[in-house]
Amino acid sequence: MTKNDIINLHSIRWVVALKEEAKTIIELYRMKIIDGRNLYPIYKSFDGTHWLIVSGMGKQNAAAATAYLYSVSSASDSASWINLGIAGCGIGKYGDLCLVDKISDNSLQNRYPITIPKINLPRMALFTTDVPMNDYSSKELIDMEGIAFYEIASKLTSNEFICLMKVISDGPQNNIKALNRTKIIDLIDLNIRDIKTIVSYYEKLSHFDFLKKRKPRLFDVLISKWHFSVTQRHKLESLLRRVETFLPDNNVLEVLNDCKKASSVLSVLDLKIKKNEVDWSHS
């Protein structure tokens, strides 16, 4: 397994506004801050599977930090992106963890994150505001980053790989002014079991997607043995993928043994597929 394979076993990118919101996550996934002159503090787990950026508050920070983390961490399109944080709420219970399934701001266009994980948690709409709000009456969740995170993350990966989780921290009965550093840490801490369950779903998603998109097993071996043009490489990848489903690697190498050039390799693989009679009795 290559270093790249290990990193992509599962790949999670966290975007969190405050250090207090990030503390428990950093500890849970044993992340360490990356040295160097970074625009935002970035943490990374020892095996490189989890990366976390502390964006600071507001839409601009969230958007810039998401894009920055993408670049610094070389995230693949199999990476899952998670935004975790506290949020105000007009209807929910203090301390509850919620998944976001609709995001709006003052613009006309709404966004609809896809909430696939099977978990018994409330799903709510999120309103991202530019300035702190204390009128909770017409909103479910309120934050200051969600929509900007989602806008950027949805350019980096498929929407199913993006998750917004919010812990209710203030509302009509809980004054935002009463929030302090310890309370924010506690709010995340309180929900860590559910957060872990959700993250494990996204880890699996990322892992399976990576395996699916990975080059066929023999691809590197074959391109090191014969010279393939770019077009031929594409064809090789497609043919190998199909051949590997019915022919063991040793047999593939054996049938290609006498090939003198790349075009013969492609012809032989083509012929193998042409002659393949799928045995439906072994499904």
Binding site: Y112, N159, T245
Partner: protein, 330 residues
């Protein structure tokens, strides 16, 4: 189980939307402006969504009834299709829907009356022509009948036009509304069929072939016309024996007088669609078979296609006159 239902604001008070919502009392309801805000957007993954699809209730604005592509028909000169739903509760690996949409959510259009109007307009415009309408091009016509009630609704319209044919295409075991209303000669309930072991491998979440045959037999006994659809024909080891066995079983079970038509079609995908589906299911056995790009369409070699079609046609022809056997070539 549907966990989230998106509903267009325009139809949130529509009685049919209420009826459908009453079937999913625990679902979370999210209001949207247009179904296209959610459905088939860029950057969606059909395969992942298929693991837990949501429901979208919408109003269809245009393109309610469309002409079928050339080569799609069962004998009449004019052919049209319509879809009250996009996507399907089943997950068949050869289905073009998985390559056509990036989204696996189900879209149900609740403005059935607009479908009625569009259908009647087409009927008027083509008066004197022999016409067939196909339901279930972008979905399974009957699989969600207990939720939508569309078949029951549309039967009422076609009862007024006994010379105009309507085909429902399905793999479901849905018997309603057919067992509670009087049979109609212009309605064809068409079942997609393939040998049992191939169906077990490719038709995910569908009723077995034996159950489909039972259902057809039952509906035939109530006087309904049955369509047999061997589309796509799937190649593989012992395919001749497998199709022979299937055809013998079918013709032993269903009275020949109840069979309206039989159609056969080869497995085929537009080139880009095949690429997209292969990306979703790279390890799928179906795609390891002898499928090749023939002028922009990925299909079996012409030799294989011709042999399969000819073999099956000969067997079918022992029971059914050639005038009722059709080859679907799109």
């Amino acid at each position: 189980m549907i966990e989230t239902i998106y509903i267009e604001k325009k139809i949130k008070n529509h009685p049919r939307a209420d009826f459908i919502l009453s079937k999913f009392k625990k679902a979370r309801l999210i209001e949207i402006d247009r179904y296209s805000e959610i459905f088939n957007k860029r950057n969606q993954n059909f395969k992942i969504q298929k693991s837990r699809p949501d429901l979208i209730l919408a109003h269809k604005e245009s393109g309610l009834v469309l002409p079928t592509p050339d080569g799609f028909g069962i004998g009449n000169s004019k052919n049209f299709y319509f879809s009250h739903m996009y996507n399907c509760i089943y997950d068949c690996r050869y289905c073009f829907l998985q390559g056509m949409y990036s989204s696996a959510n189900y879209v149900i259009f609740v403005n059935f009356e607009d479908f009625d109007n569009a259908l009647e307009k087409v009927i008027r415009e083509n008066e004197g022509s022999k016409m067939t309408f196909f339901s279930g091009y972008d979905c399974d016509s009957l699989a969600l009948e207990n939720v939508t009630g569309f078949a029951k609704h549309i039967l009422g319209l076609f009862r007024k036009y006994p010379k105009i044919d309507l085909e429902f295409r399905t793999k479901s075991l849905q018997k309603e509304p057919f067992i509670s209303v009087k049979n109609m000669d212009n309605i064809i309930i068409a079942y997609s069929l393939m040998p049992d072991i191939i169906s077990s491998a490719l038709d995910n979440k569908t009723p077995t072939i034996a159950k489909r045959i039972d259902n057809m037999t039952n509906l035939a006994s109530k006087g309904w016309k049955i369509g047999l659809r061997f589309d796509p024909l799937i190649h593989g080891k012992d395919w001749k024996e497998l199709y022979q066995e299937l055809l013998e079983t079918v013709f032993k079970s269903i009275p020949l007088s109840a069979i309206h038509s039989v159609s056969l079609g080869s497995l085929r995908f537009p080139k880009q669609m095949f690429k997209d589906i292969l990306k979703l299911y790279p390890e799928e056995k179906l795609f390891s078979g002898p499928l090749f790009n023939n002028s922009g369409v990925v299909s079996y070699d012409q030799e294989i296609e011709a042999e399969m079609t000819s073999f099956c046609t000969k067997l079918i022809n022992k029971h059914i006159d050639k005038s009722r056997i059709f080859k679907c070539s799109i």
